[in-house]
């Protein structure tokens, strides 16, 4: 079991941070990730994070919900036990709209959120690998993984500080 070592650049302003990300990436350093207390706009582009495909997943879940709702209503009222009410059609689609809509929303919302939790590795747990506790308060933490023998820690320290980091720390994380 080896430990992973990270250099953490601490920033206290989002604009300085965004500027620093550009500079540091331009210098050829790979930024592992950035932890921030709130979503920083423009950070996806700056870090080169791809757009998530969750909207596509959400759409597909919605389609499943709609299909399930229509199948359920048509099968139950149209085929399994048709209710004869004043000679009205058994498969009364206009009357099926509300339930179909609700189930579409239900499947979309829950499917999407559960998928989000799974792909992001979020689940209830006691031990949370936090790099720096201030990242949920008021600091922006830029984490750069140290590659043994390759990364020049001193140079990295200077690079971070030159680009507005107020502190530079090291952190080892059990793998």
């Amino acid at each position: 079991m080896t430990n992973k070592k990270y250099i953490l650049g601490v920033y206290d302003d989002e604009d300085v941070l965004l500027h620093a990300i550009d500079k540091i990436r331009a210098a050829g350093t790979k930024i592992t990730t950035v932890f921030s207390p709130y979503p920083v706009h423009g950070i996806d582009d700056a870090l080169g994070i791809e757009r998530t495909k969750l909207p596509i997943a959400a759409f597909l879940y919605g389609c499943c919900g709609l299909a399930f709702a229509l199948w359920m209503q048509i099968y139950m009222l149209g085929f399994d036990w048709p209710m004869i009410i004043g000679g009205k059609p058994h498969i009364a689609l206009p009357a099926f709209i509300p339930v179909s809509f609700e189930l579409t929303v239900l499947f979309t919302a829950h499917g999407m959120v559960i998928t989000f939790f799974i792909i992001s590795g979020l689940y209830p747990r006691i031990k949370v690998p936090v790099m720096d506790v201030r990242s949920t308060d008021d600091k922006f933490i830029m984490a750069i993984e140290v590659q043994e023998g390759k990364t020049d820690i001193k140079k990295l320290d200077t690079l971070l500080r030159d680009n507005g980091a107020i502190e530079v720390n090291e952190k080892e994380v059990a793998k």
Binding site: Y38, I126, T136
Partner: protein, 473 residues
């Protein structure tokens, strides 16, 4: 990159920093319960006791404990149900519709408003379940073959649509609310000193670390949830209104009901948000986050929706006359001048006249006046549902079956009891959960705090904020 508008009022006052926001919101979560909170909880718990007793009487002796009779077979229960569901709508409106419209002022009130939604829907759900008389058979509303034979539920019935609408609404609101809480739970977790608090909030925070990739996905998920919650919230009260509108009872059988109910729901919901937030901002010292600007914005929504409701009342009357149907005409004349005239005119006064006072800026920005008017609106909206339900039923087609409705003490107990349930839940939420959405307020701090965000000059040495405008989309 910073633009301070000369016209817009700041949404966060007092020159706060990011850390101040964390401190101010976490204060009441971390501190010992204060005495005002404890007294309020004691009162709420007393009424929760009233609720439990009234429910016990209702279940043990049956629905006969209520004042219902053969003519008026829906009364306080459905009134309360619609009233509570309507109150819930403001939370979703603030969290979803205002998010889509990019209204920044929603940030500091959305958390509490969404909590209100969830608790209001819980209270609402009590009434149809209790009215079943045998709540242990409540699962019969699910699409299961009847008594395990092969007869299914009737998907043509608006009451069944309600089952789907309310349960979808409740579960989606709960997920939306919880998703918003996760980053704030992480903040509390990272500040917690006690081992129990740290573990509890760690579990609640789902291991949130705030990495850029998670935030990116998180924002997408929030936006889509907002996008689907918007039609959802409109559908819920539309379907609730169809419980009445698809029947053939004069006074109920009107096509105006869906938009009229939705407007009324938002109207009453915002009144309840104001009632709650005016108390919360005072008790928890959050006046820098829930400012007069917030109160004024909500009051403007109250004028709009209150006026829509007023127009709907008048339209109903006009259409009743214009339809030429004598039963329809009688139903409305009876509402205004019959034995329940006092309920009708309470509704008209509270819902149509009082909110018009908000045309005056002085009243819109007065905390005391807003609080009083918000209570009036809450009362008025309760009477609206009472008027629609009871006055339409109590004099039906056959004069021999005309009857009056008067509530029993158990009717009152169940209703007042749900207020106890609601406030118990809300007070527990306000103490143990972050009552203001910290991360969203931090997001708007730079643009909406009125003061340029201060940071040490040495951290800005290399560049001015102007040379990376390309980040600002």
């Amino acid at each position: 990159m910073q633009h301070v508008s000369p016209v817009r009022e700041p949404l966060v006052t007092g020159g706060k920093t990011y850390h101040d926001i964390t401190e101010d919101v976490c204060r009441q979560v971390e501190a010992k319960p204060n005495i005002r909170w404890a007294i309020a909880l004691a009162v709420a718990l007393f009424f929760l006791g009233v609720f439990i007793y009234s429910v016990y009487r209702t279940l043990w002796y049956g629905i006969g404990e209520w004042g219902l009779n053969k003519t008026v077979d829906w009364a306080w229960d459905i009134t309360n149900f619609v009233w509570w569901v309507g109150i819930g709508h403001a939370g979703t409106l603030i969290s979803a519709v205002l998010l889509l419209f990019r209204q920044k002022w929603r940030s500091s009130i959305n958390r509490a408003a969404e909590a209100m939604t969830i608790f209001a829907v819980i209270c609402a759900a009590m009434f149809p379940v209790l009215h079943m008389g045998r709540p242990w058979l409540a699962y019969w509303v699910l699409p299961l073959p009847n008594t395990w034979g092969s007869l299914w539920v009737n998907f043509n019935s608006p009451l069944l649509w309600d089952v789907f609408a309310i349960s979808t609404y409740f579960s989606v609101s709960l997920v939306f609310w919880y998703l918003g809480l996760i980053p704030d739970f992480a903040t509390i977790r990272d500040r917690a000193t006690g081992p129990i608090a740290r573990r509890a909030y760690a579990l609640l925070s789902f291991g949130w670390t705030g990495s850029a990739k998670h935030w990116s996905r998180y924002e997408t998920v929030s936006l889509i949830l907002a996008g689907i919650s918007t039609p959802l919230v409109l559908s819920v009260h539309t379907i609730v209104s169809m419980d009445f509108a698809t029947s053939v009872i004069p006074g109920w059988h009107t096509t105006i009901f869906p938009p009229y109910f939705v407007a009324g729901a938002i109207f009453s919901g915002f009144a309840m948000v104001l009632t709650l937030m005016i108390i919360t901002r005072d008790v928890f010292r959050l006046k820098d986050y829930i400012t007069l600007e917030h109160i004024e914005s909500m009051n403007k929504i109250i004028i709009v929706t209150g006026s829509i409701v007023g127009v709907a009342y008048i339209t109903e009357f006009f259409i009743a006359w214009y339809s030429g149907v004598e039963y329809e005409q009688y139903a409305f004349i009876n509402r205004a001048t019959g034995p329940y005239w006092w309920a009708y005119w309470s509704m008209m006064t509270c819902n149509v006249i009082t909110p018009q006072l908000f045309w005056f800026r002085k009243i819109r920005r007065s905390v005391v006046a807003t609080f009083i008017i918000s209570i009036f609106v809450n009362i008025g909206m309760w009477f609206e549902r009472f008027v629609i339900i009871v006055t339409s039923l109590h004099r039906d087609f056959l004069p021999s079956s005309w009857a009056m409705f008067s509530p029993t003490i158990i009717d009152v107990g169940v209703y007042v009891g749900t207020l106890g349930l609601f406030f118990t839940l809300f007070l527990l939420f306000a103490k143990y959960f972050p009552v203001v959405n910290m991360f969203e307020v931090k997001t708007i701090l730079k643009s909406s705090s009125g003061v340029p965000h201060s940071h040490k000059p040495d951290s800005m040495h290399a560049h001015s904020p102007n040379n990376h405008n390309h980040h600002d989309k």
